[in-house]
């Protein structure tokens, strides 16, 4: 288990690396598999599937003002390229930023910001 999370971009030719604290608990990860069920007139049911090795990560960070600015600049520069995401469980992922918006809110602790990211991608190692 790492005590930090890192992003590197662009994935294919890395240029910038940033290190962040691990996200808060209640971060979640979901798959993007789909199933379509179609009933037919003979009473049968057919299922169609679309499987994928991709996952969607929803991460929420509590950052210092400086780290918030660092992540904002990173998103601004690399919103349309693939990132390398070094997960705190020591796995590595190739991900895209799902929504090209970066929003941070100041928290009850002065000088700290709460920011969220949604990433979608597949595991590299």
């Amino acid at each position: 288990m790492n005590n930090s999370t890192a992003f590197m971009a662009p994935h294919n030719l890395p240029q910038t690396t940033i290190v962040l604290p691990n996200p808060k608990l209640s971060n979640d990860v979901v798959g993007v598999n789909q199933v379509i069920v179609k009933p037919f007139t003979d009473g049968s049911i057919k299922t169609y599937k679309r499987t994928s090795n991709r996952r969607i990560f929803s991460l929420s960070f509590e950052l210092t003002q400086a780290k918030d600015e660092e992540l904002r600049r990173f998103v601004r520069a690399y919103s349309a390229v693939q990132w390398r995401f070094f997960h705190w469980d020591q796995t590595t992922w190739a991900v895209y930023l799902l929504k090209p918006e970066y929003r941070s809110v100041s928290t009850a602790i002065d000088e700290y910001k709460e920011a969220s990211l949604e990433l979608e991608g597949f595991r590299l190692s």
């Binding site: 690396t17 003002q65 600049r73 601004r76 520069a77 929003r103 910001k113």
Partner: protein, 158 residues
């Protein structure tokens, strides 16, 4: 070492990819202040509004324009041109405004509607932009000198 990296500004940039301009590595300098100052017009100000710094819970959003294409095979591609706009939006809430402040706020909002204004924020950053909700939504929270106001500002850092 890791602890410092998690708290301090320190992107690590290597000049390996000439196709993308990396983010600036110059550490931001902030000069905290107890007030924010709006000025209008931006170019040669004739009206100034100074109010106390916004409440905690202020929002700063950066929205980047990009286009997306999903191929029949399911591959997702994103495209972005460096010239495409980036929207920087501040949502600020102010409380504890006096009754006299309220009049000044309305005067400023009515004068500056749809015009470019300057904003010197509570971190000493100078912005140039427009106020997106010039209706001046003020709420009287208490009986006297206790008013709340929210402002949405879209601009660029100067």
């Amino acid at each position: 070492m890791a602890c410092v990296l998690k708290r301090r500004f320190g992107p690590q940039v290597s000049p390996t990819n000439p196709n993308i301009t990396p983010p600036s590595t110059v550490s931001p300098v902030w000069v905290p202040s107890d007030t924010v100052t709006f000025t209008w017009p931006y170019a040669s100000p004739s009206l100034t509004l100074t109010v106390r710094a916004p409440d905690l819970g202020d929002e700063y959003e950066t929205a980047v324009k990009r286009s997306q294409n999903t191929s029949r095979g399911g591959t997702v591609n994103y495209y972005r041109d460096p010239g495409w706009p980036v929207a920087e939006i501040l949502k600020l809430g102010f409380s504890g405004l006096s009754d006299s402040d309220v009049e000044l706020v309305f005067e400023f909002l009515e004068s500056s509607v749809a015009d470019e204004v300057g904003l010197l924020d509570w971190l000493g950053r100078q912005w140039r932009g427009i106020i997106l909700d010039p209706s001046g939504h003020l709420v009287a929270a208490g009986t006297q000198d206790d008013n709340m106001m929210s402002i949405t500002f879209r601009g660029v850092l100067v």
